[in-house]
Amino acid sequence: MKKEQGYLSANNIKYVDYKDLDLIRMFLNPNGQISGKRRSNLSAKEQRMLALAVKRARFMALLPYIAA
């Protein structure tokens, strides 16, 4: 079965910026955890890019490490 295309490649988004909270929040669950590759439908490269952006945003207190 062919894998569904992810949101990033479908919209031609090449980079995930740590400041782009609207985009990042699409891939977080209500607890602020990063959704897995199966759920996000992202490629391995995109998923790594997303994880890096989320971690940077958390460090800068733009996103919580744990959302209550």
Partner: protein, 160 residues
């Protein structure tokens, strides 16, 4: 061969610095702090590409900053960023300079690309608009029952 290595100068890379300025600063004095950061970037050999003036934001969790031997917890800050190209040596200098700045709560220095990395807002809003339309379309399908049918089903439910 050794000479070549000694003379090797790495190409300038594009960096971005994001920073939180202490919320204790008055909004009028914010410009001074921003110029201080800009001066630090330019002193380290940076050439500006883009920037955003700091905005007051609520932090996702409190940040503790020790300045003048006192711990202060901050729940909000002025967040701004600057994008510039610089040689890797300069980045190290800039990192050291910003660490010494008492008015900067926290900063992040990352390597990035010259192009705008923010996803266009249109894409996000379009998607949301589509979702709204979809939900609106699907919603009126359900109450296609006439009042009589509704009464019947209610009665059935009550009886059972």
């Amino acid at each position: 061969m050794e000479n070549e290595l000694e003379n090797f100068a790495p190409l300038p890379r594009v960096y971005e610095v994001g920073f939180h300025i202490s919320p204790t600063i008055a909004e009028e004095d914010l410009g001074i702090r921003v110029t201080a950061v800009r001066d630090a970037v330019e002193a380290a050999g940076g050439r500006m590409i883009a920037d955003e003036y700091p905005k007051h934001i609520d932090l996702a969790y409190p940040i503790v900053k020790v300045s003048a031997n006192k711990r202060a917890t901050h729940h909000s800050a002025y967040f701004g960023w600057m994008k510039f190209d610089m040689e890797p040596k300069g980045a190290k200098v800039l990192d050291a300079t910003l660490k010494k700045d008492d008015y900067i709560l926290r900063f992040i220095l990352v390597q990035t690309v010259r192009e705008n990395t923010m996803a266009p807002k249109k894409v996000l809003t379009q998607k949301r608009a589509e979702e709204v339309v979809r939900t609106k379309e699907s919603a009126p399908e359900k109450p296609a029952m006439s009042e009589e049918e509704l009464d019947k089903t209610i009665e059935e439910l009550v009886i059972s």
